[in-house]
């Protein structure tokens, strides 16, 4: 059986690309490295935009990366309904590229936050949560200075009513509280999806949370969901 091919884009300033490639391999996919100047995704079935500080995050986080040559291929891939995951800086890039609604601004506290958090799975109707259980609480690390998710009220209401909120910051028990919100994100939003569910962005780092030897494994279910749906589709 051929393994699903999962591309990870490296922008100048990406720094979680290696971990993402490694996580794909560990979880049973075939990792494919793609450079920001590439104009195709080398035949990949899915693509991950990793964390980091693409193009130095100058102007706004993700603002310049959203216009990188590879982003045309990512847009086509997304519009064809194929899976796209943006993690941290990758989430910021997807928002800047308008592949996801809203934006990510400076943390409410102004400080960089680097710690393990808990997020509650709010919907299974996404390419990266289909193998989760409703209400699952995942322990995954965050590390960002600009992770405060914002959007206007109409957008937030639409996200809620359409089930596009995928992850919310919560306590270890799964309660969505202000104290559990590490960055002031509106409605405790840690991750969202597009209308079709194939494009997902989140601030926590699932690629840092797949190996039990080095910490929590809350990220595994995202890769399991992706890879099992790709294998299922290939049958």
């Amino acid at each position: 059986m051929t393994k699903p091919r999962v591309a990870v884009v490296t922008f100048p300033g990406s720094n979680d690309d290696r971990d993402a490639l490694r996580a794909v391999e560990q979880m049973g996919g075939e990792p494919v490295s793609v450079w920001h100047r590439d104009t195709d995704l080398r035949g990949a079935d899915a693509v991950i935009l990793p964390g980091g500080f693409a193009y130095g995050d100058y102007l706004r986080t993700g603002a310049i990366a959203a216009f990188a040559p590879v982003m045309e291929a990512v847009r086509e891939h997304a519009e064809a309904g194929r899976p796209v995951l943006g993690v941290c800086n990758g989430f910021q890039i997807l928002c800047e590229a308008r592949l996801l609604p809203g934006a990510l601004i400076r943390n409410k506290t102004l400080s960089f936050v680097h710690r393990r958090v808990h997020v509650r799975v709010e919907t299974l109707r996404s390419a990266f949560t289909s193998s989760a259980e409703p209400g699952d609480v995942l322990e995954i690390p965050i590390k960002h200075g600009e992770g405060q998710y914002v959007a206007d009220d109409a957008t937030l209401d639409r996200l809620e009513s359409e089930g596009q909120v995928v992850f919310r910051y919560c306590t270890p028990e799964g309660a969505v509280t202000e104290d559990a919100n590490p960055n002031g994100a509106m409605r405790n939003i840690a991750g969202i999806r597009n209308e079709a569910g194939n494009v997902v962005g989140l601030m926590p780092h699932p690629e840092h949370a797949v190996d039990p030897d080095v910490g929590p494994v809350g990220g595994q279910v995202l890769f399991e969901s992706l890879l099992s749906s790709l294998v299922g589709a290939a049958r």
């Binding site: 102007l59 706004r60 603002a63 216009f67 928002c95 800047e96 609604p101 809203g102 934006a103 601004i105 400076r106 943390n107 409410k108 506290t109 102004l110 914002v150 959007a151 206007d152 002031g184």
Partner: protein, 85 residues
């Protein structure tokens, strides 16, 4: 012809501006108790080389709205224009 533009980018009203708040919080410690509503934005300068003034302005407007500001969170304004050398 070359035209010089300044573009002012502001965080939308109603959005919490943590930078502005931090500056504001420092002011009373420095003795100013009568300053409030501090907001921090961005000023971008650029020169546009175009056929005429209208074309230069339209390029500047497009650059401002497509790249310099994110309309989800920011308001943008072409602030001033003068002949560039």
């Amino acid at each position: 012809m070359k035209r010089r533009f300044e573009v002012v980018v502001r965080l939308k009203e109603g959005l919490l501006d943590p930078q502005g708040k931090t500056v504001e919080d420092a002011l009373p410690r420095m003795g100013w108790t009568n300053v409030s509503e501090v907001r921090v934005g961005k000023l971008v300068e650029m020169t546009v080389d175009a056929e005429d003034e209208e074309a230069a302005r339209s390029t500047a407007e497009e650059v401002a709205s497509r790249l310099l500001a994110n309309p989800v969170i920011e308001d943008v304004r072409l602030l001033s224009m003068e002949e560039a050398g």
